[in-house]
Point group: C2
């Protein structure tokens, strides 16, 4: 894309919006515009050279060709309701939210017909909030998922693919909103529910002394951004509840094998998990 003339707006300069600004700046884009309600975040982004200009007033986005919301889902939808009139006709709108069916549905209900929305999910979350934790380097190990609908244009998909390539994401793939939400429920949301519940299931702090790598690995994501995740869970409630139930059923089955001292049954489960886990090794 034309690095000198394309104007990219970023709404929300938090940990992810900040990382986007950084990555796009180093990709060579000369006009990156930041919007945030927090003036200090704008100043930080400016002083680092990641954005050309910034403001708390959305009007600053009026010339942008591409506008990327880095807001939480509900705030994003509300922002569009309140501020979409400032965007220029023909602009491309994208986002970074961790759930897609609801967001795609609500934005398509609200959005002006002369603006196209193409949903994206950069799987590069972090437990910390704010621009000071922004780090575009993490994108190199992260998946970027484009989530088109049957109304999405090829051009919109290709634009986001190009941006993701320029931000050096490891893999770039397309999923439907349903496929995305189903996948994210099992691979990300369920794992966070497990880590939080495991951490809360025992209040004996002296155990920390004996902690090994396996417990640390399992609970790393128990440090969690409590402002963001409850909303993501609720917006994906059907799939998440289904996955929790399926997992609890597996736990019950395993508990029964322990209770009845069924060595062969446990071995079968372990051989299955060993085999399946090998498929998930980093390629």
């Amino acid at each position: 894309m034309d690095h000198s003339n394309t104007r990219i707006g970023i709404i929300g300069l938090g940990v992810l919006g900040g990382s986007y600004a950084e990555a796009l700046h180093y990709a060579g884009y000369e006009h990156i515009i930041g919007v945030d309600i927090d003036e200090a975040s704008i100043e930080t982004a400016k002083s680092l050279g990641w954005i050309e200009e910034g403001s708390s007033d959305p009007k600053i986005l009026s010339d942008c060709d591409i506008v990327i919301s880095c807001l939480y889902p509900g705030v994003f939808v509300q922002w569009i309701k309140d501020n979409q009139s400032v965007l220029k006709s023909g602009a491309l709108l994208s986002d970074v939210t961790g759930v897609k069916r609801v967001v795609v549905e609500k934005i398509s209900q609200e959005l002006r017909p002369d603006i196209e929305f193409i949903a994206c999910h950069p799987m590069a979350g972090k437990e910390f909030k704010g621009i000071k934790y922004a780090d575009a380097g993490r994108f190199q190990a992260a998946n970027f998922i484009i989530v088109p609908t049957e109304h999405s244009s090829e051009q919109a998909i290709e634009t986001m693919r190009t941006l993701a390539e320029e931000m050096h994401f490891k893999t770039i793939t397309c999923l439907t909103p349903e496929e995305h939400d189903k996948m994210i429920s099992y691979l990300s949301q369920l794992t966070h529910v497990i880590a939080v519940s495991l951490m809360n299931a025992n209040d004996n702090d002296s155990l920390a002394l004996y902690t090994g790598d396996s417990f640390r690995d399992l609970t790393r994501i128990a440090k969690i951004n409590e402002e963001m995740w409850p909303e993501l869970f609720i917006l994906n409630k059907d799939y998440l509840i289904h996955d929790i139930d399926q997992f609890v059923q597996e736990l019950h089955d395993f508990r029964d094998l322990v209770q009845t001292e069924d060595v062969e049954g446990m071995k079968k489960k372990m051989i299955s998990s060993t085999t399946r886990r090998a498929l998930f090794d980093r390629k």
Copy 2:
């Protein structure tokens, strides 16, 4: 300890027994004797210089001052029944098993009164089996737990502490058999049950494409030695079943918060898990 005159016997040259032989060899012990039913493992240990001599015949241990069983719990107890007559009077016996109450009880029932048993648990397990995966370097990140009873001598405890120091374990602590088994149930056994169950809860292999670090971290230990773990689970069944039930209760509570869209309730759980997890960061 006297590196030139102390004779140390190791029963079972698998991944852990091999690592012990390696670590004690590099600590300077000149007389390390290996016993294994597999001649190839003995040859490997010999060719690496880790053992001075080895045999499938337990009689080779008759002059050993310290004998360390690196066998699974049931095999260890049977080995003592069958072969303890070869050990010399006054020898110190230790082990590496991952559960302690049953092992300590059974060995103390079986063992000759002129031999002292001091249970130990080097928390340095691995999913792979066999001497070719032996690696004493892992001990530097691992906890070593000495598990004395009221009958244990100070000298036995100090001897094992010295060996653990010489093998460069990170931390060395003492727990009673009950404390050990309770701790290991929550920090290690429950985490393995969770990883295995999570891996088995979904058979959609195409998800591997989208796997991020959090899922990989949570399921790393789903690759598991199915010959060893069922026995460890059964021998610690009371604590493990209790911990599975407590964890499932936490999952149920969290599921209800999602179902009822209780944002404040979820936030509380997340703040609690974030706070507790910080205690478990690597010091």
